[in-house]
Symmetry: D2
Subunit: 155 residues, 4 copies
């Protein structure tokens, strides 16, 4: 398993925010007739990152939330820059950081690298919402505390 | 065929920019366990709009460009706001407008409505690029003239 | 709209079964790094055909079934032969015929042609099932009568 | 990493064929409004299995074949039975076995289990083909020898 949960600054004397990382292989089915990732596939991969962050990074099963609690985190806003193309066979390092936690929304930052090269940078705003009513619901205190470990504080 | 190419202001005495429109049915395969469009599917639909705009709106076959000329328009930047969810069976009106034409890039605006309700607004920056080298290439004068008909001029 | 509902033998003096047809454009997002349709995309297109057959061919809204009645037709078995590849820009003629109607299952045949060339032939067995229990439910008499118009009778 | 390459019968005194196995998590993006895997997603997962079998099971990089050698293994025929639905959060065990190796074709068998329950069984016939000409090419002796380790011999 390639997932890593790391301190953002491992040399700091004080606690630094966590970052949730995972490697993803660029597969045949991600690629288009140009032989590179078709851009909507990145958003599917970001969604996988969100699932795995909940389940493995926050310790809150994403599937249970959808099936049992009927809450999820649909996307409210996307900003995304594609800096360089990715080809089949590339192994990409995805990193997820928390930028802001609101009452019922959440802003996440994604960075995708191939070695040192940045391929994609994105910010996604998620809305905590009921799957029954599709209305926003507050982020619970327990969930908020778990998320705050990943929150970039100041500076 | 639901496609429409319309003047943006049909009451104006002077020529107004064109807008490229099409209706799309929200299908079973677009939807997630919440019963609404899974957001990356919108980007696939925007890509369909770009294909059809080239072929039917600009009179330049998108497929021929990819297969014969080996040029395409990969995405450089996405900004997208999801204002309201869309459910299976909804018929959505997609509208494409041109916001800016650069040397080798192009900024398009998309609006998705269900009746009067805005569901999604997006801006996509496209890079004219060779599929052989993945490097940007200038937009030709002929293609530029065709695109300029859709360009929102001033105000 | 390219959809056609036709008698299978338009020269026959007697009533022949209906066939449900539609044209589909091979799009950029269907294609893989070989520049041809990635085969799972055909199954998504077959699913679109099933949706449209219910709604336009049988007069029973597929979306209403899913959302309101909570019944659908998940797939029990697939047999599919890929005879020749399809490229971006090809317009393919999809034809759907009914092969057998059981108590709660249904066998459909699909043929995909580009001009005279057969590209794909498939048989899909669908199970009428409740979306709440995921158990099979009988096909209602009303729905059965509508489907029987498409049933290849005899020979 | 969950991948396993195992002898099919670990109690046999003689060499038994290899089987290539991997676990896959059922994700949000695999599932439909019924909350279960949308069936074409299984074919995408079979394709992932084929990629990983080449790269990790046969020691022949799938990506290099596509990018450098320009050969691949498009699908000629699919037979697939869906025995039971799979829900978001399920971890499924995929197993790949070789059923037959021809001059330029290959028949693979897939079994998907959740614990002891069989969810899906499939047979896929792959055609070794040039990505330049889309014509079949012979399977090389070296590749054949690697594949034969997975071939169910007799009985």
């Amino acid at each position: 398993m390639s997932t890593a949960i790391k301190r953002q600054d491992t040399t700091a004397a004080y606690a630094t925010p966590l970052v949730f990382e995972d490697d993803k292989l660029v597969r045949f089915h991600h690629c288009d007739p140009a032989g590179i990732i078709f851009f909507p596939q990145y958003f599917i991969m970001f969604n996988e990152m969100i699932e795995d962050w909940f389940t493995r990074g926050l310790g809150v099963s994403f599937a249970d939330q959808v099936v049992t609690e009927r809450v999820s985190t649909p996307i409210g806003r996307v900003e995304c820059d594609f800096a360089a193309p990715s080809k089949i066979g590339d192994v990409l390092r995805f990193a997820l950081r928390v930028d802001r936690i609101g009452t019922s929304s959440l802003k996440l930052r994604f960075e995708v690298r191939h070695g040192e090269e940045v391929r994609v940078r994105a910010a996604l705003t998620l809305i905590r919402a009921s799957l029954e009513t599709m209305k926003s619901v507050p982020i619970t205190d327990d969930l908020r505390r778990r998320m705050e470990q990943y929150l970039a504080t100041g500076a």
